[in-house]
Amino acid sequence: MRTNLEANWAVTPETEQKIVDTAGRYQTEPWQLMHILLDIQKIANNSFPREVAVIVSRETGLSEASLYSFISYYAMFSPSERGRYVVRMCESAPCHVRGSKAVMEAISKTLALQPGETSGDGRFTLEYCQCLGLCVNSPAVMVNEAVYKDLTPGRAATLMEDYMRGDYDA
């Protein structure tokens, strides 16, 4: 989904350098392509826009077409811009039988977002995801790379409020 968020993030000389350095790892360790592209996506505010692909293509020698063929296959890449925090709520069966639906409703209400949407201020993207491997602590949610377990609707709402307040902003 392309939104008016595009203005929120643009390549600067500084971020370009970071992307170039990260992409450089490909020459010695080609098997790290996934990791490299995921790191670059982090630099690019959780998305993989065309401007970034151009730089990566130049640095790795991989064509833009083959880069997009790769990233479009894997769920963790997003060609369109996402929020600073990607909130991913597990919807697989073990979380489902422990009340993930009610937790998702609480999160959705607190963030005022439906699954798949990004907030207008570019801070949050809400997504459903599959099992996070935390089923012994269901229901579980991931916010970027942090995990939160044993959630109730109340705890999930509080967590989102903490994020909204900026408690987790570096």
Binding site: L38, A75, M76, P94, L134
Partner: protein, 419 residues
């Protein structure tokens, strides 16, 4: 009360996972040392005697895989540890890797020595980013101590490991898809043969094994294959690391001998949460089976499960209380497979969508009795004609729920017809 038998989990929660000193204080890397003092054939024969079968779902003997790759002549071979753990309801590999990574590295090194590989990869699923630094630090410490890297223990054997990341695709747990993914390609399953053991990563012979399988190897070498073969049941030796989840009183990851009765495991974990009634279990992950309480007297090993129309799979035991709606759960599971099918072959790509649609309609009160036959027919086609085990197995939860919870389907259809 049933006690755990910890082989794979023996160090978990007992040591600092990144500390090489802690690991070695509990006998760590002694097995690798021992293996390096044996010939490759001698080491392989201990693995063969153990009769260890793969723990990633398919149950293939690792000794056979190692001997295939050992026999191939190649300038480079690889060992891959499959840590993609995407099967919903499975947490065991996370617990092993984050709690005792060296047991997996040591197992990989032993496998590498036997097969003749010098390089290994751990393919870590995207959803476990917090395990990355643990693995990197543990690797660094093991190298510094001379347990990994060049000329290990002065034996002349070189072996090192890199950690690579998954991209959030369940199907990349399938070994040929996983290999494609490391090669920088779309992770689609490939036709076999050639098998990875002969022609795998970058075209080289490659042994792919699950985390839990590999973590067993040090103990097998250390205590002997016969010791291992005496644990569990004759055709299915050793232990299994189970994940207890869902509406169970005490969820967790726990290790019991193969063949331990489901009833005993369930009771050891406190039965149903909040004293509710038991409605059934999902066994072996979402590509597993749904069984009802009458089927609970079940020895949990690969062959007995298979013979009783159940699946051991990854060792998932998801408990469902009587508040669960079976059709909701099956619908949820089928939407997972729609999402995760790579779309390469038609029976899987279309079949999962059709099954989901039919179940959704029945659940919404728009079902007909004939739909149940259609589900059976669809399942048969998918099982026979799909390229990989995703499409071959994704109908299991539908078919088993249809057999073991038939009343739920009939009631939903009846409800619809009355309305």
């Amino acid at each position: 009360m049933l006690e755990e038998t910890r082989i794979v989990l023996r160090n978990v929660d007992e040591i600092d996972p990144v500390s090489i000193e802690d690991y070695r204080a509990r006998g760590g890397y002694e097995a690798l040392k021992k293996a390096l003092s044996m010939t490759r054939d001698e080491a392989l024969s201990e693995i063969d005697k153990s009769a260890l079968r793969g723990r990633g779902g398919a149950g293939f003997p690792i000794g056979k895989k190692l001997s295939v790759t050992k026999a191939v002549d190649a300038d480079q071979k690889y060992i891959i540890c499959n840590a993609d753990e995407g099967e919903p309801g499975t947490n065991k590999d996370r617990v092993v890797l984050s709690g005792d990574p060296n047991s997996v590295f040591e197992g990989m090194a032993i496998a590498a020595y036997i097969a003749g590989a010098a390089k290994g990869f751990v393919y870590l699923r995207f959803e476990y980013p917090y395990i990355f630094p643990i693995l990197e630090q543990a690797l660094e410490n093991a190298r510094k101590a001379g347990c990994l890297g060049g000329n290990i223990f002065g034996s002349g054997f070189d072996f090192d490991i890199s950690v690579v990341s998954g991209g959030g695709a369940y199907v990349c747990g399938e070994e040929t898809a996983l290999i494609a993914s490391i090669e920088g390609k779309r992770g689609e399953p490939q036709f076999k043969p050639p098998y990875p053991g002969v022609k795998g990563l970058f075209g080289k012979p490659t042994v792919v094994n699950n985390v839990e399988t590999l973590a067993n190897l040090p103990q097998i070498i250390q205590n002997g294959g016969e010791w291992f073969a005496n644990i569990g049941v004759p055709n299915c030796t050793g232990t299994k690391v189970f994940t207890l989840c869902g509406n169970v009183a005490r969820p967790g990851v726990a290790e019991y001998p193969m063949g331990t009765n489901l009833k005993d495991i369930f009771e050891a974990h406190g039965g149903v949460k909040d004293g509710k009634d038991l409605q059934g279990f999902m066994l072996g992950g979402q590509s597993g089976n749904l069984i009802n309480p009458d089927q609970m007297d079940l020895p949990m090993d690969i062959d007995t499960c298979r013979a009783r129309d159940a699946i051991l799979g990854t060792g998932t035991i998801m408990v469902m209380d009587d508040y669960c709606e079976i059709l909701d759960i099956v619908e949820n599971i089928m939407s997972f497979f729609i999402h995760e099918s790579c779309g390469k072959c038609t029976p899987c790509r279309e079949g999962n969508i059709r099954m989901h649609e039919i179940i959704h309609n029945i659940n919404a009160g728009d079902g007909k009795l004939e739909d149940l036959d259609t589900l059976e027919e669809l399942a048969e086609v998918m099982q026979i004609t799909s390229l990989c085990a995703l499409g071959q197995n994704s109908s299991y939860p539908v078919i088993t729920s249809l057999h073991n919870f038939r009343d739920d389907y009939l009631k939903a259809i009846e409800r619809g017809q009355r309305a």
